[in-house]
Symmetry: C2
Subunit: 424 residues, 2 copies
Amino acid sequence: MADNRQLWAELGIDLDRHDVLLGGLGPAYKEIYLSQKDRPRGMGFYDFVVGDIHGIRVHELQEHAKEGGKVVATYCVFVPEELVWAAGAIPVGLCAGAQFSVPIAEEVLPRNTCPLIKSSFGFKLGRVCPYVQSSHLIVGETTCDGKKKMYEILGRQQPVYVMEVPNKKGPLGRALWYGEVVAFKDVIEKLTGNEITAEKLAEATRKVNGRRLALKRLQALRQATPAPISGKDGLLVNQVSFYDDVTRNTQMVNALCDELDQRAAEGRGVFPAGAPRILVSGSPMAIPNWKLHHVIESAGAVVVGEESCVGTRCFEDLVPETGGTLEEQLRAIADRYMQIHCACFTPNDERLDDIIRLARETKADGVVHYNLQFCQTYASEAVKVEEALGKAGIPLLRVETDYSDEDAGQLRTRVEAFLEMVRR
Amino acid sequence: MADNRQLWAELGIDLDRHDVLLGGLGPAYKEIYLSQKDRPRGMGFYDFVVGDIHGIRVHELQEHAKEGGKVVATYCVFVPEELVWAAGAIPVGLCAGAQFSVPIAEEVLPRNTCPLIKSSFGFKLGRVCPYVQSSHLIVGETTCDGKKKMYEILGRQQPVYVMEVPNKKGPLGRALWYGEVVAFKDVIEKLTGNEITAEKLAEATRKVNGRRLALKRLQALRQATPAPISGKDGLLVNQVSFYDDVTRNTQMVNALCDELDQRAAEGRGVFPAGAPRILVSGSPMAIPNWKLHHVIESAGAVVVGEESCVGTRCFEDLVPETGGTLEEQLRAIADRYMQIHCACFTPNDERLDDIIRLARETKADGVVHYNLQFCQTYASEAVKVEEALGKAGIPLLRVETDYSDEDAGQLRTRVEAFLEMVRR
């Protein structure tokens, strides 16, 4: 801990404020996570990660930096991390899920901004996030108005580069996006001083695909009845994958899956076999945003999947390992990222198909559509989700919430009423 | 009037609801507009237009349609109307500024959507807008999350085509936009069955430029001290330019300007010479959104300009009349629209320069930054506006409001306090 404090001080962390932040995390984690019964042993790694969330991984980043390596911070699954790893840099996700930093951000950003953006921005403004302090470049994107404009303000504090994600997926948008991927390669090469060769990119692609495959395997295991792992734990695994080393993370997810394989074979679940199964769909949930999952699972249901950027949208599609020239690989990367069915696109009807497919694959009894407050794209798309699920005969609950606890009672009541309705 | 009712019925208007809408407009216009003293005679045309807002112009559109002509409805200054006119079609702006239709829209759209979007969508959903009913194609764009996703829902009721406006103005974004302009030309040619030739496009460009020049002339006249026309009247002229025939509109604006020329020469103003001069900047104000201007001018100040899509962003830049090939003209059009300094772009620092320049040109004593509630891009950009104006020593009041009257008292108090501060 003394070691951590010195590190944080060197990184310019506001130690007093940071103490308050971490002081709140421990009890929350204990209540939400450690109180769960019969958790897989493999979750021990994740308990360790959260218990030292601003410690060991930050030390690793600093070691890397001391050897001349670069850290590239991101806020979105559209930033092609293959290119970052291929240049010998380390990508790290910065999306934040803590109410703690929201009031700090509101001193600058409009209040009518989504809590994820405010929380993340507040982490920087309040100097309580060693990951952003460790990063040499922040890479933003244009997936929503709130983030797009926030990056401009963030850019006055730390170097920010913004990738343009097109709004439409036609030939013009795809051409633009390919150009953005190539430009990003140049940016990363310049930042690191390392050339991204075809060989290095192929290797990085294999590594990142390996993690995606592990997370897909976990998602497939969550389809078992009874579910062998809680939704809270499943969500945490997805969340940590944005911070951790790609190789270690793949190993840890696969080790957990080995254990879950055995549980599934034994028909051993963390919830009774008859517990309602819920698919969560919508806005991303960044650490420590476990609010909705906690409400759902405290009410006796189990969350069996997240149709989310912190979920299937992040890992479902692999980059084809075509090898070949650098250009061929870059095209394969660009194409793969254009398969993400984010509400930033118009239209985005493929997402409706995804939700219905995932609800069926996971044998979900209902879908909870999760909307971060002021997340305009998902809120508007929820109109179409409601219509599509209605036609498919899948029960839906639409929830809009922020990171505060103000609506906890109302949320619990609505979720319980919904579960009562879907309970067989 | 009987004639109008038959027309509206033919267009599928909900006559009862429409009566309520128009019934509210008359008294509001009387209070806000007709109560003004010493108005230019040229405003008589605009009184007539508003008095028959869903009448004569809609008849003209119907006559046009009966002869096989097409009506193209738009929500944004990024849709290149030159191409619409060149194909013999008529463009008409659909942005709405009425609280009346907001609750109708909220039955479908998220409440946390900007009032302009809700009002416009509600006009269609509630069948109270003969302009949208008259249109053969609605052309949307991707300038904000709210509109982008609203168009998907609107598209289930009427044909909608969406143009992609890029997020960044670099070479990739400009290439995409040029492609979008070319694609739009094809769409309009297909809709109308008319080829857009170089000659027709050059003629249409001259016409639209003519209207822009007239509106620029009006804006220049508003720089006079004392201001020869009220801000409310200036705003109305800008608003009506989105509906009216381009040639007639140009004539009317120029006739008004001839009158204002004389007023300015005589030093005759509609407000005392010492009245505080206010530049309004920010989100667009669609008919009948006169709320902020009415508050400011009721408090004894005069609005001398609108840095807005319903204002300078619409008319400041001309399309170079290069003539030449169709491709050369299309490139000139694409380039011109990329000069619009909309908050949809990142970065958009040119807008900061525009506001400072306009404040100086109009000899403004202060700027009121107007933000439609939940208009994320302008709300975030206001952070930079505040900083830039602070550096330039120009007083700023940031206002966020919707179309309701709920905050009228608070708004008045804040505006009055601001005027007290800037009053010399």
